[in-house]
């Protein structure tokens, strides 16, 4: 399923990126890499999406604060409709 069709609030895993060389590299450099998980913050399904890259293992919590959610240190990205159609994901 293309990322453009993913539902708002869902956690999805990137399975494939169907883009040309330049865009493929750009996405990799932004942290959008096959196998990584992404939370769909906003979507106009199907349409552009706002995502947050989520790392599998939550960071250490030394002072006993429960990691309610993994720390997203990646910042949010807006992916246009065209780009969101080229990223294949599956729900996790």
């Amino acid at each position: 399923m293309p990322l453009a069709y993913a539902q708002e609030g869902k956690l999805v895993r990137i399975v494939a990126i169907r883009a040309g060389k330049g865009l493929h590299r750009r996405l990799h450099e932004l942290g959008i890499i096959e196998g990584k998980m992404v939370r769909v913050i906003k979507t106009q399904g199907p349409g552009p999406v706002i995502i947050e890259i989520v790392n599998d293992s939550p960071y250490v919590s030394k002072r006993n604060f429960p990691p309610y959610r993994p720390i997203a240190t990646g910042g949010r990205l807006l992916l246009g409709f065209g780009v969101a159609m080229k990223i294949m994901v599956e729900e996790v």
Binding site: R25, E29, I71, T73, R76, L77, L78, F81
Partner: protein, 685 residues
């Protein structure tokens, strides 16, 4: 090399939205020389950092994610670092966007730059409930790290100190990423070949970096290496290794990027520590409404409407003041000077002063429009608007980001065209710059108001609104046509950083407002001023020579001027189907210079003051409602003004400025004629 005579130079690098321009201002005191990088329309900013009596040149590099050959901005940055060898490269890393920021930092280190990390926005990370152990980060990547909060100035002093120290203690960490045994072996082999066959190359670039780029197949480096005498041999060796690698690890380029990213994640994992439960995010709350699937777009329209109201209401007193000061007071003073020849008095009063007035009267409204826009932008709302419209814009082969030049264009088309620079894809950028002039700018509004008010009565408001919508629809359609013909090619992809909402900062807003207003004032100002003088000249002279300033008061005499003759020619030929008066046609001709001149020209042509023009148009039945609406549409579409064309030429070249001129005039003609023909078929008059 005469190293002593060279000024100490540092560069600022960072991904978009890390607060780089604020850091630049903090370091340089906000004073900057602004120009373009050679050969491209990418802005270059240079300032001076004064510290302990020393003067250090600060160069602001474009906002980039990496140092590949795929993007112009990235090529600029890496060529600058390699060729100009800045003493220090300050990499601004956002604490709330750590991964992508550090990826760039590692890329800079690999290029052999002497890096200082500015870990910015640490306050926002604390709000999110985590902390970054910057000492540990420093240890892991081997270069100095300074935590800062650019918005309050926290840590800036320390940053300056660290920069000065780093100038004398060069640290190179080109081996920051370990790519694994297989790739590392290939890298060393190429490195050896380079050092043997092309030592001059190894002097300029770190050999390891060249080896990596050759393995990635970087087009720019492959090109540069092949030009060397031993180039072919090096490339052959690299290609051979690439092939072997390809069988073991897949595409080497993809593998190298992923490995580097893994390294970034390792570092992030080691330095980030949760220290508190995160607060409920204001950004999430706002976004749940502002980017909502259904209410998002209506809210955006309201926001833009409010922006217009704000600009108009607040600027009225100032605009009136300017009007009185220039058109009455200054005008009268000049008329009162005795002993000047007639023509000179008229030149000063009706040419120069009227020209300056035409520009200055719009200054308040445009300044307030850009003030409001800069606030919306600084808060972070404009990125959300780009998200909201992307689905629609995508259908027209344009990125959602293209909406921003169009909205700026509502204020003034000149900075609107320039704002298209922010679009990365070349085809999309050129298309956007060419359609931005279709956004109905502030100078067109008086024309709508005068003619609509005189002829359309109660439906005038609706008619004016429809023209704004028409402008955007036409922009999208023309955009699609351009993307299907001249600027074909798949989009390189619309991707944008989406920062959290923030309070607008006074200095940011002030700088952005001033920069855009300045474009209107100087660029538009000079061109419009010159244009007004030319209009004056064409009105007071004719085939019979100098007619005297009386021509401007006397419609009969004006008929004999060059301008009058041209208008009659236009009215009886190309515009004969439209049913417009020759005076209206002349006004259109004058409107080439600037749209606001259309109203004042009509006033002159009908021999009345501008305040009476509405009554005259209404009483003399100059227009029927249908011809009036067609005229307003024509004013919307045909050539925004000479200044906008000059800006298109500046950004895209003369060829495209001519293209813009031709397509706009043709489109205006077609649309107006369609309005008249379809309207009359439907029974409108």
């Amino acid at each position: 090399m005469a190293r002593e005579s060279r000024r100490v130079k540092i560069a600022l690098a960072g991904i978009p939205n890390v607060g780089k321009s604020l850091i630049f201002n903090r370091l340089t005191g906000g004073r900057a020389w602004v120009g373009n990088w050679p050969g491209v329309t990418v802005e270059k900013k240079v300032g001076t950092l004064r510290v302990n009596g020393a003067e250090i040149e600060v160069v602001d590099l474009p906002g980039i994610y990496s140092l590949t050959a795929y993007s112009v901005d990235e090529l600029i940055a890496r060529n600058f670092i390699v060729e100009e060898k800045p003493d220090v490269v300050v990499c601004i890393v956002s604490a709330i966007n750590l991964e992508r920021s550090l990826y760039l930092a590692l890329s800079l280190l690999e290029l052999g730059a002497n890096v200082v990390i500015d870990l910015n926005m640490v306050d926002l990370a604390e709000k999110e409930g985590y902390k970054i152990d910057y000492k540990k980060l420093e240890f892991l990547i081997g270069v100095p790290v300074v935590p800062t909060v650019a918005t309050t100035g926290r840590g800036i002093g320390k940053l300056k100190e660290t920069i000065v120290k780093a100038i004398h203690e060069k640290k190179v960490q080109a081996r920051i990423v370990d790519y694994g045994r297989i790739v590392e072996e290939a890298i060393s082999k190429i490195e050896e070949v380079i050092k043997d066959l092309a030592p001059e190359l190894a002097e300029k670039y770190p050999a390891r970096w060249i080896a990596l780029k050759l393995l990635e197949g970087d087009s720019d480096i492959v090109g540069k290496v092949s030009k060397l005498p031993a180039g072919k041999e090096i490339i052959d060796k690299a290609n051979q290794l690439r092939e072997i690698l390809g069988k073991k690890i897949g595409d080497p380029e993809s593998y190298i990027v992923k490995q580097k990213y893994e390294r970034v994640l390792e570092i992030v994992k080691a330095v980030v520590e949760r220290v508190a439960v995160p607060r409920v995010s204001m950004t999430d709350l706002l976004d749940s409404v502002l980017t909502h699937k259904i209410v998002g777009i209506p809210l955006a329209l309201s926001a833009i409407y409010l922006l217009f109201r704000f600009a108009f209401e607040v600027s009225v007193p100032l605009a009136d003041l300017v009007d009185v000061a220039i058109n009455s007071y200054l005008h009268d003073i000049v008329l009162g000077i005795h002993g000047l020849p007639d023509w000179l008095t008229s030149f000063l009063a009706d040419g120069v002063i009227a020209g300056v007035g035409a520009v200055l009267i719009f200054l308040p409204i445009i300044a307030f429009f850009f003030l409001g826009f800069a606030i919306l932008e600084d808060v972070g709302y404009m990125a959300r608007v780009a998200f909201l419209v992307d689905k629609v814009f995508h259908k027209f082969n344009l990125p959602g980001k293209a909406v921003i030049p169009l909205i700026i264009g509502f204020g003034c088309n000149v900075p609107g065209v320039m704002a298209a620079r922010a679009i990365e894809d070349e085809n999309e950028r050129k298309t956007t710059a060419l359609i931005a002039p279709l956004a109905s700018c502030n100078a067109r509004l008086p024309v709508y108001l005068v003619i609509g008010g005189a002829v359309l009565g109660a439906s005038a408001g609706f008619a004016v609104l429809s023209l704004y919508v028409l402008g955007i629809i036409l922009a999208l359609i023309v955009g699609l046509l351009l993307r299907k013909t001249l600027f074909k090619g798949a989009s390189s992809g619309f991707i944008m950083e989406l920062p959290p909402y923030m309070m607008p900062r006074f200095d940011n807003v002030a700088i952005k407002t001033w920069e855009r207003t300045k474009r209107f004032l100087f660029k538009a100002g000079t061109v419009i001023f010159l244009g007004t003088v030319i209009v004056w000249l064409l009105s007071v002279t004719g085939p019979e020579g100098y007619l005297g300033p009386e021509a401007l008061e006397d419609p009969q005499l004006l008929r004999e001027s060059w301008a009058g003759i041209l208008g009659q020619l236009l009215a009886s030929t190309v515009f004969s189907l439209m049913g417009w008066d020759w005076r209206a046609a002349v006004a259109l001709f004058f409107g080439f210079v600037a749209k606001e001149i259309v109203v004042s020209s009509m006033a002159i042509l009908y021999g009345v003051g501008e305040e009476k023009i509405v009554d005259v148009i209404a009483e003399r039945h100059v227009f029927t409602p249908l011809t009036a609406y067609a005229y307003m549409a024509f004013v919307l579409i045909y050539v925004p003004c000479i200044a906008t064309l000059a800006m298109v030429r500046n950004e895209l070249g003369l060829k495209y400025a001519i293209l813009a001129l031709i397509y706009e005039v043709l489109l205006a003609y077609i649309v107006s004629l369609s309005i008249i023909s379809i309207g009359s078929v439907l029974g409108f008059r």
